[in-house]
């Protein structure tokens, strides 16, 4: 079974977000870059399926050179090889263009399964997976919190507001991963894994190598544009309920404040 995992590099979730001078982008100095956590779940799920059914796991990513580090990390987790769409400005061309480039790269590999995170922790647009599936003309199953694969079909569970769904598809299919760390428990890259990863094959591809016309991939083609960024309003410092009260006194005071001041009970 051949599995492609689409991977995006994002700032670490610890990152403090500051707005840059242009008012439209964030200050990236000092960011620690990591594999998007949801894509990491996808890598883990792919490795588990490979362990059961054999085959190979290929990492597919794109963007500036810094992303290669995230790709190497996924190889160190146990993926076999990687394809890197070496186009620094791909993301500035808009999400539709990214999905078209990714779909073109996948077509060349004709895998049985394509996995990716259900969303990225930076822009949180939750669109890459379903878009790629549409461009491939494939079905997709979204937001898996568990997955079973018997070699011919895949079935997943997903939760939705007030319920649970089980969905199934024949191969090839694209699956996006939801859930949390507790569900997927992605493995760490081991030291030997990191050493091996350095030698694993990583192919660089330009848009032209994927049969795409680079002239169609410019920032002017982006349909959606960022106008401005703003930070959420600062919360006013709150009050610690103390005043020398005992536990009961504090509880009573809290009830009073929630009722009289906040008016939420």
């Amino acid at each position: 079974m051949n599995i492609v995992v689409i991977l995006k590099q994002t700032p670490d979730t610890e990152s403090v977000i500051r707005i840059a001078g242009d008012g439209k982008s964030v200050v990236t100095d000092g960011f620690k870059w990591v594999i998007n956590p949801y894509d990491e779940f996808a890598v883990e799920a792919a490795l588990k399926i490979k362990e059961k059914h054999g085959g190979k796991v290929t990492i597919l990513s794109y963007g500036p050179q810094r992303v290669v580090e995230a790709v190497r990390t996924a190889l160190a987790m146990g993926a076999d090889d990687a394809v890197f769409i070496d186009e620094e400005h791909l993301e500035s061309c808009g999400r539709i263009k990214v999905a078209q480039a990714v779909a073109a790269a996948i077509k060349e590999m004709s895998p049985d399964l394509v996995f990716c995170g259900s969303r990225a922790v930076d822009m949180d647009m939750a669109q890459r997976g379903p878009m790629v599936a549409e461009f491939l003309g494939w079905p997709h199953l979204a937001l898996a919190t568990s997955i079973e694969c018997d070699g011919k079909t895949v079935s997943i569970q997903r939760s939705l507001e007030g319920g649970k769904v089980t969905q199934e598809s024949t191969l090839p299919v694209l699956v996006t991963f939801g859930g949390s760390h507790a569900v997927w428990n992605p493995r760490y890259a081991s030291l030997p894994g990191i050493m091996k990863a350095k030698k694993k094959p990583l192919q660089n591809k330009k848009l032209a190598d994927l049969g795409l016309d680079a002239a169609e991939f410019t920032p002017e083609k982006a349909k959606v544009r960022v106008v401005s960024l703003e930070l959420p309003p600062e919360r006013k410092p709150g009050k610690i309920i103390d005043g020398g009260l005992d536990t009961e006194g504090k509880a009573r005071e809290l009830v009073r404040l929630l009722h009289e001041e906040a008016k939420v009970i």
Binding site: V26, G94, R128, K164, A182
Partner: protein
Amino acid sequence: MSKCVCVIAEYRGGNFRRVTHEVASEGRRIADALGVPLQAVAVGSGVAEKAAELGRYGVEKVFVADDPALEGYIAETHTPIVADLVQKCDPAVVIMPASVDGKDLGARLSARLLAGLVQDSTEIVVENGKIKAKKPIYAGKCYCWNEWADGEMPLISCRPNVMGCLAPDESKSAQVDKVEVTLPEARSSVKSLELDTSGRVGLSGAETIVSGGRGLKEAGNFSLLEDLAQVLDAAVGASRAAVDSGWRPHADQVGQTGKVVNPNLYIAVGISGAIQHLAGMGSSKYIVAVNKDADAPIFTKADYGIVEDLFQFMPVFVEELKKYKSSCS
């Protein structure tokens, strides 16, 4: 010919979901600002009978695809059907729910219609006839305003419980145009759909949330929070530490890699307030923190802080609340 605003309705278990009413209300506002009609698209099993109801929220006309095979959302089947209906509307703007299924459908539609999509918008404005949409990024650590290139059709999904809802006008109903459904050939299907009928409040729509963290020490101690939740008619959430420890199901995780919530009242108990947790609940209207460590970062975000051992404080707090509640009734 003036184009319309098109709303994609979400229909499940025999009813339009509340978020559909919110999106229709928002659609009405945008249509009025643009001076164009408001139309809708509704897909599902049995939806034709209900479709006229959307008129109460200002929808003038609904294009409907009704077929038993459309019970339960599956992207491969729903996308081409919804896309065809949207094209029948010939819209200037399409808005839809940023629900679990809505975001999935939106992404697929974006590729199919080659329409630029902004997901999970919290505010839409019309300026000089052009649409701008705001959305949270980095799990609410920042907000991003987006616009569309000239001649592009905005496709926007709207975050539930944010945009508000018009008071329904029971005297109005929408014109229903039932369209013949051609089901696409599909390799994927819904095997089962289990809806929770317990009436328990879900995290996403809850007005009050009581969340517990590592400070709870073990799964059984969450009963302290369940008691409080019962008195307040609240949902129970958890930090990642509590979920990773196996004390709570993953669906209860609040934060950057869990649910982003915005209740009126969020009570954090035994939670330190890590940046990933704050990202998920920082937009709550009021925050209460109970923590024995006065230096815990959660207190920098809390409107009301209680520095106490939670095992001592919580039972007393629940009793005081009960007393207060019974004095009200």
